[in-house]
Amino acid sequence: MSRDSLTRMTKIEVVARTADSDAVRRQIVASGATGYTSLPAVTGLGHHGAHEGRALFNDRDALTLTITVVPDDRADDLIDGLRSLLERSTGVMFVSDTYVSRPHYFS
């Protein structure tokens, strides 16, 4: 399938402490985004070293990846809003172009 038949949008991904991810999700919803995907207990290596996934008896002290896709004309407001939110926390944000097959799901 060619990308010509798809609709270009903006994908925003945020990795933040699980305790901070509620605020990230609230910000996404307030921006008018129609949804998000949340992946709890992600693992990896980053600026603060290696991160394990969820501990056996502790869901809270882990990292959560939150993903949303928004039309380009809404992206800048949300990006600014998320940057503001992450100013004083350890979360990171990735912004990229993406293509979707059902644009009406996202706008």
């Binding site: 910000q27 290696a50 056996l56 008896f57 600014d80 809003g81 503001s84």
Partner: protein, 824 residues
Amino acid sequence: MTSLLPTTARILRARADAEIAASVIAPYYGLDAAIAVNPVLPSLRQGMPAALRDAAPALGARGGVSEQWARERFDAGRISRTELARALRERLDADHPAVGESDATLVARFLAGAGAVAEPPVADAVADAAEQAALGVDERVTSWCRAALAPEAAAWPVPVAELGFYGAWRAVAATDLTLPREARRRIEQAPLAADAALAAALEASGLPQADRAEALRRELARTPGFTAHVRWLAETRGDVEIVDLLAVRLTLRLALDAPLPSPAATLARPRRPRRDELGLDAVDRALVWQSALEARVHGRLLSRVRPEPPTPAASPAAHLVFCIDVRSEGIRRHLEQQGPYATSGFAGFFGIAAEVEPLAASAASAACPVLLSPRYRVSERPVPGAWRGAKGLVDRLAGGRAWRSALKAPDAVAGAPLGWAEMTGWLWGPVAATRSILAGAAGRDRRPDEPATAPATLFDVDSALTIDDQLDTAEVILRTMGMTAPDAPLVVLVGHGSTTVNNAFRTALDCGACGGHRGAPNARIAAAILNSEAVRAGLAERGIVIPAETVFLAGEHDTVSDALRIVDASALPASRRGELDTLLADAARAADALQRERAAELPGAARRGGRGRARLERRGRDWAQVYPEWGLARNAAIVIGPRSRTAGVDLERRAFLHSYDPVADADGRALETILTAPLVVAHWINAQYYFSAVDPDVLGAGSKTVHNLVGGAGVLAGPGGDLRIGLPWQSIGTRAGLHHEPLRLLAVVDAPLPRIDDIIQRADIVADLVFGDWVLLVAPGAEPGTWVRRTREGWQPYALDASMHTEEGAPGAAPQTTDRKEAA
């Protein structure tokens, strides 16, 4: 006020400012299922010194011990010159010229510096005017919070369910005749959505963007209780968030011409802290006092932890697994003295991450630590043949609920409560007088959810968990508690609960690991899983062989009476009933011994009548008793290691005890689980007691005797004001002063140092606790009897003089003179 809507960008910026502003205080869980939490939890990563310097003052609270209180401890001999000098040398840089001075000189210079760091009061007309305006806003906002967050207790219906927290306020306030006409008009024109209203108010304030988050933080700090509770509601129910609370505050400010003050205008303290001649500021000094205060207690407890390697014990008649709660230490110690019993410590939810639905309950509730999301729901059902009794119980409880609801119905009608009291007061007066005179000596007051008799029930584990899930759960339980080869024919999993009446903080005395509930249901579920033949067969394939004659039973330790109750005893064959009878008889003797020990500390208990278990049990039934038990007061340490390190020694009910076998945990997974969950929970509890003690006015809940309930949300001290977070005064002190000295947790971990280091490196939360100086983590050193402490700089030798002097308020000290009446 403008009704023009702010742009989405400004709304999102305002929301971010609100979230940042609120990130200074932890969620407050309310009283329906009270959970201990570090009130400055969001600052955990920054470390305790930073939290004392920034987070606590941002809430208007003192974070560390006061200079005056600590000096009194020094003058009374509770802190010695040696201990203070040692703490000072730890705090000062190694090349500080004062480090080489004698103890006497160094301490004298330190004591002389107290006045140098005291902040003089600032006379500021602008700040005073802002304060007066804020007081009026506070009163209206807290009044609304009480109505909106506990609508069942509101004087009249409020449309929160339909319009939301802010929307309902906007609708009600626009017609509130106690507000000036112009204010009502402005409120009516405010944006409909909370975030838009907040953004509009921030724009109207004229504050530069850089000051807004700080200005909002100061607004929230005026009502830390409701702020903390709204944070919890945002995380759980999601129908109110911090933006709503701030939207109400700022819209009201604009409507009343009380503009949001600039942080610079109300800055009451200089940005550069004052320092004494040693170069220490007030927070440095508080930390010095803190270390000095801890040295004696930590040293004494550590000196009692056995330094030698564990030695195998003879096969016990029964093995009892208790919660790690400090109150378990006493009953374990006394029980082990009664006979051939082994005991272990494990988080009291016994690895059951469940929502539990008791028989006839109106809803299920999470019965696991708040660190965990429940994975499944387990319902209580009557055993086959007990349906008739179960129906009778359900009917009785429903009838009781309907009766109580009918009695409260007039409360929902404006003006009716007074008339209702006039009509029915004559009926309740004699009842109240009887309860007061008998004071728990006759009859038995029960919690509404506590039936007098109950049918035989079971927890329907098979409907909640597949056999594979049960097998996984069983393996986790046994490996984490180090019981891969059960050594006794009878194993009892003992939860705990507190039987008290007329006690708003009842759930704070129940099991925190069970989400602020009694622990018996979790113990019953775990025992049922571990008795399952299919599970045992699976465990054997995984290398855990449970002998066929081993039976797991569930029990519950009542922390008021110290009685041990066995549930589901039918799991034990009738031919072995004698084993249980012997255990219960020994447990009763252990309870009596422990009661004598506890009675010496409980205000008024030593001189009041009664014998044996009835004496303290009656206190729990006394509706006027504000000291039914001390809960987890005086907690000061957690020991993670085999029981052989602590068996036979008196840890004064001050230590959490988590069993751990370093030999059986070669890959360190069990230790990682313990350090990332039970240690965290123990710290939360320790921090709640700590902050409630260092600043009872802001971070404690005040005296029980003036509390008014706000539904299940919390309490007020008096008729109005902010929700009170933290512990009531009767949980931490008496009229004679603090019973709970604010001490940080000494974490004694019996494990190889590289294993601990690996976990610190992998788990941020453990690194935050250890490197942030929230807990003092020590482990056995290379030489037997030596200890090393983990700091950012690595493992450092750790040695404290174990002074055996009796401290104020410690066991053996003179009985306290305060009784419940005087404590008012």
